[in-house]
């Protein structure tokens, strides 16, 4: 069923749009009053658009807007930069925001600082509305600024960009989703629609009035397009939008979402705002449509949102193929999973307190069997993902075949780079056989065991591990029966819950005693631990310094004396630095030494019957 109509009714739409602009101004004025002085309440949908200049406070260059049902947006700035992550987790939800005005933005885009923000009503997942849309189809709407000539770019050219032929967006996202239905209904308007205002009305240097552009462009095309049939809207403009405020001052395109009322339906749409410079750029289209699907950037933790070669949502420009130009790679498993593109039976979520092994197969052109993604919780609103990346399909250029780990923090993913050298694409970020990543605070480790034809065998441990190392003859037990019962070598126990209290008791065999606890315990009394990290405890049991034991040592039957014990015995004897028969004589017969050792009772006892065999 075609959703693109013909014969747009342009004039009426312009009047309508202008009316909305005026209404928007009036609302903002009512909300704000004199600049910098007023507090107010905003209600609407929270939308994020990657349209801002990256700064140290906002390294992803993402701007948040509260948008009312008519598409009027107010840009909100979190009270503290650290609030931005949590704020993003409310993306596309209905919110009420207590604000204070900080400045009037360009072209009817005020900015306000958030004093408090709360989600109201039923809380769906951020991209629930997209999940409910069959096929995630996008409509590409061609809009011409009022002062622009008709672009040379034809609708048929744009159909190639978003269409089903490699590397068009339907083909690209179809491969990412492993579904032939995804974006199968992508369409392009048949004509360029005229915006009511010249470019200068919408774009001022480094600022773009994205809300007004969204409203005006969709209104212009509304007669041709039945928007509710689409999950997303690409707004392709006839000129460039804002430029970057810093070098190289290039023209930008944007992605995110917006609320509009179109064809009698008020809802949010995934949305892109595309400069004409990117109209045939497959990388930028894929990247901005990723934002429209709700995907944030991913990157290393080095303050550069475009540094990761593992994700279209980061570096992007990764291989050049004629005649299309620059092409990109897949997105990461975490974002595919957020879309529901990882089947539940191929998602590996290890249980707390477990050690499990599986094969993680590659995500691009994945084989029919094997897990595609491991998800390992690491804290509130945080988890790690592990996935295999190998060259296949659109993953045509990768740093290398490897297991790649990301930590996802409020939905935003960061490459786990062990060497922290500023490069998330080198060996430090590629986990290969024999390597183990451990987050002892979060209580997890991921070990790559072997490479297979289509992926890697991986073992994941979840829990807070206590290693108990015992030397000598004795047993270490925990207060909770059955948890720990270690009498030789090293025993390990996984505690599934962080903060678990553990009491350890040392029980030496007769003739032995606990010398001391070392590691996470100290002294000689029972030891109490709180498991908040990987812990190692050593219990050293020593032969008690009985005459019989000293004699057995001389006769070659007892080797379990510590060096300092032997030195002590030597000191009681001849002090020549060696344990010898002279020392034992002193130990057995010398009255002074006998006084030091405290008792000769053990000496008087019969020797071990093993003495003659």
């Amino acid at each position: 069923m075609p959703h693109v109509r013909t014969s747009p009714t342009r004039g009426a739409r312009i009047e309508s749009t202008m009316g909305r602009v005026v209404a928007g101004c009036a609302l903002i004025a009512a909300l704000t009053g004199p600049l910098g002085a007023q507090q107010s309440t905003l209600t609407g949908r929270l939308h994020h658009v990657w349209d801002a200049e990256a700064t140290s406070d906002n390294p992803d260059g993402v701007a948040a807007y509260v948008v009312d049902d008519a598409g009027r947006g107010t840009r909100i700035v979190p009270a503290a930069p650290s609030d931005r992550s949590q704020q993003y987790s409310f993306d596309r939800r209905r919110v009420e925001v207590q604000t204070e005005v900080i400045r009037q933005g360009p072209t009817n885009s005020p900015s306000v600082r958030v004093r408090s923000l709360r989600v109201i009503g039923v809380v769906p997942s951020p991209i629930a509305s997209l999940h409910g849309t069959t096929g995630l189809d996008f409509i590409t709407v061609l809009c011409r600024f009022a002062d622009d000539p008709t672009p040379l770019l034809s609708p048929s050219q744009m159909e190639r960009v978003v269409g089903p032929t490699y590397p068009g967006m339907r083909q690209y996202f179809g491969e990412l989703s492993s579904s032939p239905d995804v974006m199968a209904g992508n369409q392009v308007t048949t004509v360029w629609f005229d915006l009511p205002q010249p470019r200068s009305y919408y774009v001022q240097g480094t600022q773009t009035a994205i809300g007004t552009l969204a409203t005006d462009c969709t209104t212009a095309a509304d007669a041709e397009v039945y928007f509710p049939a689409f999950a997303g809207i690409n707004l392709q403009f006839s000129s460039g939008l804002a430029t970057r405020a810093t070098a190289p001052y290039d023209v930008l395109s944007f992605g995110g979402s917006w609320t509009l009322t179109l064809d009698q339906q008020t809802r949010d749409w995934g949305m892109t705002w595309m400069s004409v410079e990117h109209a045939e750029n497959y990388v930028v289209y894929a990247h901005e449509m990723g934002h429209a699907l709700g995907w944030p950037h991913s990157s290393g933790r080095y303050g550069n949102e475009y540094d990761s070669a593992w994700d279209v949502m980061s570096r992007g420009y990764l291989r050049y193929e004629l005649p299309w130009g620059w092409l990109t790679v897949h997105t990461i498993g975490a974002y595919k999973d957020a879309m529901g593109w990882i089947p539940a039976n191929r998602r590996w979520t290890p249980a707390a307190g477990s050690v499990t092994s599986n094969t993680l197969v590659r995500g691009a052109l994945a084989p029919a069997q094997g897990h595609l993604l491991a998800i390992i919780p690491s804290g509130p609103n945080r988890f790690y993902t592990a996935e295999t990346r190998m060259v296949a399909g659109h993953d045509g250029t990768l740093p290398g075949p490897a297991v790649v780990l990301h930590e996802v923090d409020y939905g935003r993913a960061y490459v786990t780079d062990s060497d922290r050298n500023g490069d998330p694409n080198d060996a430090g970020a590629m986990w290969t056989p024999g390597e183990t990543f451990t987050d002892s605070i979060a209580g997890l480790s991921v070990r790559v065991d072997a490479e297979t034809q289509d992926g890697f065998a991986v073992t994941i441990t979840r829990g807070w591990r206590l290693d108990v190392n015992v030397t000598g003859e004795g047993t270490v037990r925990s207060a909770v029966a059955g948890d720990i019962d270690c009498d030789a070598g090293t025993c390990s126990h996984l505690f599934p819950t962080r903060g678990t209290g553990v009491q350890l008791t040392a029980e030496p065999l007769p003739g032995w005693s606990l010398a001391e606890w070392t590691g996470a315990c100290a002294g000689r009394s029972d030891c109490t631990l709180t498991m908040g990290d990987t812990r190692t405890v050593r219990a050293e049991f020593r032969r008690q310094l009985l005459a019989s034991a000293v004699l057995e040592r001389l006769l070659g039957q007892s080797l379990h004396f510590a060096a300092d014990q032997l030195a002590f015995i030597d000191g009681l004897g001849n002090g020549n630095g060696e344990f010898d028969v002279g020392d034992v004589r002193a130990w057995l017969l010398d009255p002074d030494a006998a006084a030091l050792q405290g008792s000769l009772a053990a000496f008087a006892a019969p020797l071990d019957p093993r003495r003659i065999s």
Partner: protein, 136 residues
């Protein structure tokens, strides 16, 4: 007394056998016995020695003191017996070991491993320390 030629021949054989069986060096040469470990020391004030007898047969053995003033401890590991003797040690009988066949005793490697004075000072064992096993 008269003897027949047959009786005379039997008597001659009996005497011959008697003479043969009566030679103790031949008849008792490898019977198990207790052996005395004899020490030769260059010192007159040894207070402790640690000796080893290596190459023991697999049969059980015991070690006992000869001099009540000496305290003796021993332990066997595989075919080696380690014996520690404490007290006023001088040249002469040290301990006794057995039971042991003389042929096995002859194969033993007997050594003084360590020696100490009565002031507990270690003395390096030298060729002046000698051990010999003799049947008791």
């Amino acid at each position: 007394m008269t003897t027949s030629p047959r009786a005379a021949a039997l008597l001659s054989l009996a005497l011959l056998l008697t003479a043969a069986c009566g030679n103790p060096a031949t008849i008792t040469s490898d019977a198990q016995a207790t052996f005395v470990v004899n020490l030769t020391t260059p010192h007159a004030d040894d207070g402790a020695v640690l000796i080893t007898l290596a190459g023991l047969p697999s049969t059980p053995m015991d070690v006992t003191s000869i001099d009540s003033r000496l305290v003796v401890y021993s332990a066997r590991i595989a075919d080696t017996l380690r014996i520690a003797v404490f007290g006023p040690i001088a040249s002469g009988p040290l301990v006794q070991v057995g039971p042991l066949r003389p042929s096995a005793a002859a194969r033993l490697d007997a050594r003084v491993e360590e020696a100490a004075s009565r002031g507990n000072e270690l003395r390096a064992p030298s060729s002046d320390y000698l051990l010999a096993l003799r049947p008791r």
